[in-house]
Each structure stands twice: as C-alpha cells, then as structure tokens.
Amino acid sequence: MSKIGLWVITFVLLATTIAGCWSVHELDTLAIIMGTGLDKAEDPDKIRLVAQVAVPAELGGVPGEGGGGGAKATTLAITTGYTVRDAAQNLSRYFSRIAYWPDMQILVIGEEAAREGISPLLDFWNRQEQPFRSLWVMVAKGEAKDIFAAEDYLEKISAVGIAKLINESGQASLTRKSRLLDVTRDLASPGVSPVLTRIEAVDQAEGKKRIRVAGSAVFRGDRLTGWLDESATRGLLWITGEVQSGAIVVQCPDGEKRDVSLKIRRAKSQIIPEEKDGRIAIRVEIDVEGDLGDQTCPINLTTPEHWRSLERRQAAIIENESAAALRLAQEEFQTDIFGFGATIRRKFPREWEEMEQSWDEEGFPRLEVTINVTSKLRRPGLILQPNRSR
C-alpha cells in the first residue's frame, strides 16, 4: 500500500522531466489573431495574408487604466507566402509573438483570390486542431486588405464587429450566412455550389471607412463567378428555405403608389425533384407566413379582400425574387447554388450518376423549375387601421 508514494513520485517525475513543456504557450507570448484576409499577392504564385491582431494591453487588464485612451486595439500584419500555412508562418518575421489562430472571427477572401478558387485557401483552417469550423468566411469586393482598414461603429476590434454584422444581416435575409463548415460541406457535396457572404468597405461620413454587407458571392465549384445583390440573395434564400426574417415591401392595394411593408415571420421551402415526361424537373414549394409591418396608404387593410390581395402580392414578390435568382444562376452563372443536384441525387441516385458529369454545364441550366408560393398573413400588429383611414 505504501507503494502509492513511489507511483506518485514516478508519475510526477516523469511528467516534469520528460515533458519539457513542448506545447506550452503563455498568454503573453501569443499574438491573438481576430480576423484574417487572403488576397493574391503581386507575385502571381503567392498569397497575401492580412492578419488583424488584438493588442491585449489596450483591451482590459486592470479596469480604469488603459482601455480606450485613443490607442488602437488592433494592429495589422501583412505577409505573403506560397500557401496559407507558409504565409502564416511568415508572420513570425513581424511579430515577436506566436500567432494564435483559434479565436479568429472572420476569414475574408479577396475577390481576385476567390476567382482563382477558394479550396486551397480553406484547407489550412480545416486542418487545424482548433475550433475553426464555425468561422465566418466571406468574400470582399476588391481586396481583403481594405476591409481591415475600415473601422467598426461600436466594436474596438473590427473583426468582431464584422462577425456580429454578418450574423445580424444574415438574420434579416440580406446575405447568405456562410461558416467554414457550410462552405466545406457545399464544396464536398456533389450537386451544390457554395454561396458566400460578400462585404465591402464604403466611405461613410467623417471620411471614415465602414463595412457594409453587400449581397452574396456565387461560386462555381470553388471559383467565384459573380455576385447576387440583396434581392437576388433573398431569392436564393427563399428557395433553399433559409429566410429567417426581414421585410417585404409591396404596393398598397388601393392602386396608388404607396407602400405596405410585410414582416416575414416564418418561411420554409421544399425542393421536390420529380419525373416529368421522362425528364427530371424540380418543383419548389415555398411556404411563407408574415405579419403586417406598416402601411403608408390610408385605407383599412384588414378587410378580407385587401388582406387576401396583400397575401397575393407577397407571393408575387417572393416568386419574382426567386425567379430572378434562378434566372441568374441558370443563365448567367450556370452554377447550382440551390443544391438541386443534391436533391436529385437523393431521390434518383441512378439517374444522377448520368447527369453528374455535365451538371453545371448542361443539366442545371436546362432544368425545369417551377416555383409555387403559399403566402399567408397572420396578424396586423396592435392596431387595425391607421387613424386617417377612410
């Protein structure tokens, strides 16, 4: 029994002697990277990596001291390399500290780099042992570097601000929220092409640059092919059933040019592949519920006719938006961003095998897609009609 002492001694001795503290990184030896941008470098074979690094001394520690004070909470490092890993390694030329990646919030890919394919740029993040998969991945209009030059309204660290921004505008169905996981999953699955958030830096008052979410970036395979604006993005989201909330503006049923906005409560969609005259076609069933948001026309909208007409108008808008997105994808980009191929594969695995080869080139552009929208309005809010109404 007294051998326990010996065992413990062995244990601790072993631990302390053999483990010469290999993986030890004290907090003050780390450069905590909050966001990364990837661009093409001047040298066409190389990648330029922009890392936004937090400056911890400016971010707390002893309260009341430091914090604010005008000093910037982040600093930028720019390196180049042949691969992401290589570029990341080169950071140690600039920083006296070890680059620490796991808390990275956003990965911004420059437009040009995205056109050459994003798979090689994403490999590094998926391979790491740290929790990266819920990282936001997005495409910047222009260069990723410029994104980090902009400031956030509230957050000291703009990367954190952008991450929150994407979450918010994704919620409002203004863009496709794309985490690393989603992108990887889409890239790996046959019959789906990824769509990523697109952001840009714009000039705002006081000569400051601010970040704006600007629709989505469409990929074919892993290459960027084009953009979807906000309404086309929502068209895409209607079809894939990812709309969570947002507002639809329709014309007032009284015939004048006045608007009524409808609040989206709930939306879901079903993509149903069917066999139609020996060919496979897709039927999309979109189911939307909404509330009356506000109205600018002075009539009573809560009458049954008006109510139904609002529902019809809502359906029409949704149909238009989806059809626009569909047209863009089928004719202009020729890439299956809706995952129609994947649904076909699930239902008709054998037929899919024949179609898979030329799906993006032939199958998808010629695919017959019908969109049916069921639209419902549920509640008018807490007032029934505006007080000026007739």
Partner: protein, 360 residues
C-alpha cells in the same frame, strides 16, 4: 490461481463497451467514411449489431461451457498440451498487439488534437504509467473504475449529440443504400473486429460472480456500442454530409462545432476527457488480459511481477508498430478485420468444434 477477485456482470458489460469503442469513437467514423457516406448509420445498426452480437454470443458460449478456466486453459484442455500452448501463445501475442495498437491510437489522438508539439512517446509514457498502476491493482479495480466513469461518459456523449443536433440535416442521410450492401458490410468489419476482442473476456471468466450470464453481458455491450454508433454515425453524416470523407476525427469535429451561448465552452476538452477515460479503460483491459494470459501460459502464480516489464514492451511496440497515422487507418480498415476475425472468430470456432468432437 487467480488472484481472489470478483467482478460483477454490469462491470463486465461496462468494461467491454469501452473495450470495443473507446478509441473506436475516434477511428471508426474515419474507416467507415472510406466506404460509405450516406449509409454510415447502417453500419452501426444492422451490420455491426448482427455480426458483433453473433461473435459475442459465440465467445459467451465458449466461456460458459468452460467457466472454471481461462482461455489459455480452454485451449490446452481441448487441443492438448502442444497445440494448446501454441494457440495460447498466438492469442497472448495477439492481445499484446491489440494493447499496443490501442495505446498508439490514444497517443495519436492526443498528439493530433490537443498536444500538437509534444512527442508521442511522452504522451504514451505518461499514459502507460497510469495504466500500469491500475493493472497492478487488478481487474476488480479496473472494473470498478469503469463502473464509476461509464455513466458520466455516456451522459457526456449524449449531451454532445443533442447539442449538435441543431446542425443536423436529415436529408444528408439520403439516398439510402445507393451502393448496395457491400460497402456498409465492408465498413462494418473494422468495428466488428474490435467487437471480436470480447474473446478476451474469457481470460477472466473465473472471476465473474455469475459466469452463466457471460453471454448476455457480452452481447449487451455490443448492443450498447451499436446504439452509440448509430447516434454518432448518423449525426456525423447529417452534419457534415459528403464532407465527412475529408475529416480525420469526425466526432471530435462535431464537438468543435458546438457553440453554446456563443462561446466554445471547452466542450472539446470534455470530449477529450471522455475519450481519455474510455481509452484508459480500454488499454487497461487489454493490458490486463495480456498479462493474465501470459501468466497462465507460463504457468506462474502471480501476474503482478509481469506488469511493469510487459508495459515497457508495449510502449516500445506501440511506437514501433506504425510509421504514421495513415498507416494506422489503412491497417485498421484493411488488415485488422482479416486478422481479428481469423484469430478471434476462427480460433473459438475451432475450439468449440474440438470440444464437440472430443465430447468435452
């Protein structure tokens, strides 16, 4: 003479659950992804369950038939001194190999996921000191440790599955059986070959308190494993879809996804804890089997003196066995089933046949 130890059947069940699945949680999804993606869950439930239960039942039958002796004793009784000794040696060496293999699997996992800069040997060494300490205390202590760890670990795994359910997309499971029966069965062979290690339970049948229920206990552990496998496999496919082919430790990756209350909460550390606890039990179990088997084979009285030197051999072997992790996965996928099934199903079948022929 066995050391005077008694383990109960729930303890045996818990032990074998870990014996089959501890490191398997990490590696089975990887080997399975090589063959099937959408149908990965079918590997767990019809196929693994059926084959695993059959094999466990076979071992149970053999064990209850000769409940007074250990596997080595059974070999010698049925096949006579010389052939029996030979079979016994093969089995002991096999379990030695399995111990080293599992030890290596744990080590690789720890290095790859949480201690990337630490050499494998340091991890393996520390782990082995721990395991050797528990093996010296005997199967009873290992079993009890298993009893106390298992409920906690199950809950942890279930919680993970529930938390990740938000990311799951059911349609990723379709199409169903597009590739036919071959690939899922082939994929099931790796888990089944681990399930076949239930043969090792016969090394300590004499210390069971109710040996008659051995069959039930072994089959039950296979059932538990298959339900866990069903959860994990279906969840991995539902979350990752086709991307699961690309991922090394699927389950670990699942946990990396969970963001509770918008923070990562260190869930992967909890998962890692569960894995280390489970594989501790697994390695201890196999190590103990090997030591006890070796003691039997040499006809010695005590196994304790053999523990430390055998530990050194196992550490050395575990480092020696494979060059890199790809070899490990390849081996587990391709050659492990063949070897395991030949030795752990073939030999018991032969033994039962021999017993029938010699009317024992």
């Amino acid at each position: 003479m066995m050391e005077n130890e008694q383990i109960t059947l729930p303890q045996l069940t818990f032990l074998w659950v870990w014996g089959i699945v501890a490191t398997g949680i990490l590696y089975f999804p990887t080997t399975i992804s090589r063959h099937v993606v959408e149908d990965a869950w079918t590997v767990a439930v019809p196929f693994f369950l059926a084959f695993g239960a059959m094999i466990a039942w076979l071992h149970g039958v053999l064990g209850t038939k000769f409940s007074r002796m250990t596997l080595i004793g059974i070999c010698e009784t049925i096949c006579g001194k010389i052939i029996g000794k030979f079979l016994g040696l093969i089995l002991v060496l096999w379990f030695l190999f399995v111990t080293a293999l599992t030890l290596r699997l744990v080590g690789e996992f720890v290095v790859l996921t949480i201690m990337p800069e630490t050499p494998l040997i340091a991890i393996v060494l520390l782990f082995m000191v721990l395991v050797a300490y528990s093996v010296r205390h005997g199967i009873e202590v290992i079993a009890r440790t298993g009893e106390i760890l298992s409920p906690v670990s199950y809950v942890a795994i279930a919680v993970v599955v529930v938390l990740v359910a938000k990311e799951a997309r059911f349609e990723n499971l379709l199409p169903f059986m597009a590739q036919g029966w071959g690939p899922p069965i082939r994929a099931a062979l790796t888990p089944v070959s681990f399930a076949a290690t239930t043969l090792g339970a016969l090394m300590f049948t004499p210390s069971l308190n109710r040996p008659r229920l051995l069959k039930l206990s072994l089959v039950l552990s296979v059932v538990v494993v298959s339900t866990a496998g069903l959860m994990i496999e279906s969840m991995s496919t539902m979350v990752f879809g086709a991307a699961r082919r690309e991922i090394m430790f699927l389950h670990f990756d699942l946990i990396r996804l969970i963001k509770l209350l918008n923070i990562h909460l260190g869930l992967q550390s909890i998962f890692m804890t569960v894995i280390i606890c489970g594989s501790f039990l697994q390695v201890s179990l196999f190590y103990h089997l090997t030591v006890v088997g070796l003691r039997q084979w040499l006809g010695l009285m005590y196994y304790r003196p053999l523990v430390t030197p055998l530990g050194v051999v196992i550490i050395a072997l575990s480092v020696l066995l494979f060059e890199n992790i790809l070899e490990i996965v390849d081996f587990m996928d391709k050659f492990l089933p063949a070897a395991s099934l030949t030795l752990q199903v073939g030999i018991p079948c032969l033994l039962l046949l021999g017993a029938r022929v010699r009317r024992l």
